[in-house]
Amino acid sequence: MRHAGQSGERASPSPPPHRVRTAPPISGSPARPYLLVAPLLAVLLVFVVAPLAFVVAVSFFHYDNFAIIPAFSFENYADVLTAHLTYELYLTMIWFSALTWFFTLIIGFTVAYFLVFHVRNPLIAIGLFLVCTVPFWTSNVIRMISWLPLLGKQGLINNALLTTGVIRQPLQFLLFSDFSVVVSYVHLFTIFMIVPIFNSMSRIDRTLFEAAADAGSSRWQTLLYVVVPLCKSGIALGSIFVVTLVMGDFYVVKVMSGGSRASIVSAMYDDISTLLFPHAAANAVILMIIVVIMVSLILRVVDVRKELASQR
């Protein structure tokens, strides 16, 4: 029925390939996979593992006005953890993550549901899916600043509301506020929810709908007790993307709050600009730990690996 099974045609995160073995590997050499992953391994070691090790090492260094001095001290952590600002930043960003997560989830789920279950023609479904993904391949900075002419005091929205007489004063909260920050996040990151949820939904066996209906389930109950549970792994993957992207955000908070808010990362940037590398490094390590905790909490609710494995 319709386009079940074609979802993989689109570029999207999905589990490692099937391990259905029709015959032994073409080249029997046991070194083959290692030769093939050597470049990948090299990039990850040099540009992910080593740099993170450097960050951890430097977070224990001393620093003064002139230099960073190798050492093993916890003073940077003490500085970061005793600063009131740190808690404010983390609470702000966790709050923004939660709001963004909520809205991207609702929008992403609804859009994916429409595309998978309501668009009959598979070609149109692919086309509409691409309409959603194209902005992902364009500049995020540009997409963010494109809200300025809409949300400003003399922006389109305020003007429209003023002319129609809905309001007498321009709405101040639209731009350079928490509102505009969340709008930008939702605008930028909903695609990260749509793609994985779309993927999980495409794998749902349509006969389940009939079975649910035969068993007397309402449409709403089918959604809640059949579709949502089967989309769990997609929702979890999307949530991981959205939460980590917001927690690691640099420019959205800075620009869209009009400078009234800072993000964890923009605080690090300010540290680095004044050469406080060890202080920034300690903050970075704490951020990584918080992000890992948030991701493991999500994985605790949904075992993505098991879910993916069961769907192979």
Binding site: P17, A23, L36, F114, G248, M268
Partner: protein, 281 residues
């Protein structure tokens, strides 16, 4: 869902309206800045339009009001091409390797995920610190290139997983039975079959590099790439020239996306247009 009679339920129309609103939300703001970038010399950052001209596009080229935009473009495009080529090569090789179980594969897969979800700026700081402490100069073609690969490779690899997940290995065996060597099998059988996936990887590699910000900020050395240049403009440029730049780079991105998607569509059409079924892929 269809009802028994094949009529669309009311939810279809509700969801279609929701989808249309989402698309308007997605593209509306972008369209606003495209329109505003064509203002006359008195143009401002908000509506209404003040005149119509290409003034702000000319401003981009003369660079009287802006930083070194042309220089930034002349770095961003070669960088994106290098990142694209490296992403394709490394992801295809990695995808081939992950078809078989191998010791350490799971750990490597986790490292890929870490590379994907680690805050980009933290990786950038790490790479910047590493180059500094090792006494290496940071440059767009060294440190920034590596930094961007930590963002593009996970996407490339996940796409190749999806592609090879539906790849029928019987074709490889058939080629081998017919006497093809390992190199011939790769070049004449595997690559042509997975070509649409490879183009998708190239598209991700190019565009994600071309727009990369957080990982590049601390790693591009003393020169800016285009997103860094645009970002610095958001803080000190208050004329539509920034919209003109947005229009130009977005138009460029659209061209790249259009070329990639048409290539994929063309290959699929040729493949499925033939009388003989071209296999599972």
């Amino acid at each position: 869902m269809l009802t028994a009679a094949g009529r669309r339920p009311w939810t279809f129309y509700a969801l279609a309206a929701f989808f249309a609103l989402y698309v308007a939300f997605l593209y509306g703001p972008m369209i606003c800045i495209f329109v505003l970038s064509f203002q006359g010399p008195q143009g401002a950052l908000v509506f209404p339009m003040r005149g119509m001209s290409l003034h702000w596009f000319a401003e981009l080229v003369t660079q009287t009001e802006t930083g070194d935009i042309l220089g930034a473009i002349s770095r961003s495009i070669p960088l994106a091409i290098i990142v694209m080529a490296a992403t394709v090569a490394v992801s295809v090789a990695g995808g081939l390797a992950f078809r078989d179980r191998f010791r350490g594969g799971a750990a490597l897969f986790y490292a890929v995920i870490v590379s994907l979800v680690a805050p980009g700026y933290v990786l950038g700081i790490g790479i910047g610190l590493m180059f500094q402490l090792l006494g290496l100069p940071a440059n767009w073609y060294s440190s920034a290139l590596g930094a961007q690969l930590t963002w593009t490779l996970p996407f490339g690899l996940l796409i190749m997983f999806a592609v090879f997940g539906r790849f029928n290995r019987a074709y490889e065996e058939a080629a081998r039975d017919l006497g093809a060597g390992a190199g011939q099998i790769l070049r004449l059988v595997v690559i042509p079959i997975v070509l649409p996936g490879i183009i998708a990887v190239a598209l991700f590699g190019f565009t994600l590099s071309y727009d990369e910000f957080a990982r590049t900020l601390q790693t591009s050395g003393s020169t800016n790439t285009l997103p860094l240049e645009i970002w610095s403009m958001t803080t000190n440029v208050t004329s539509p020239v920034i919209y003109a730049l947005g229009t130009v780079t977005t138009a460029f991105s659209f061209i790249v996306i259009g070329v990639a998607l048409s290539a994929i569509a063309l290959i699929q059409r040729r493949r499925y247009g033939r009388a003989l079924p071209a296999g599972r892929h």
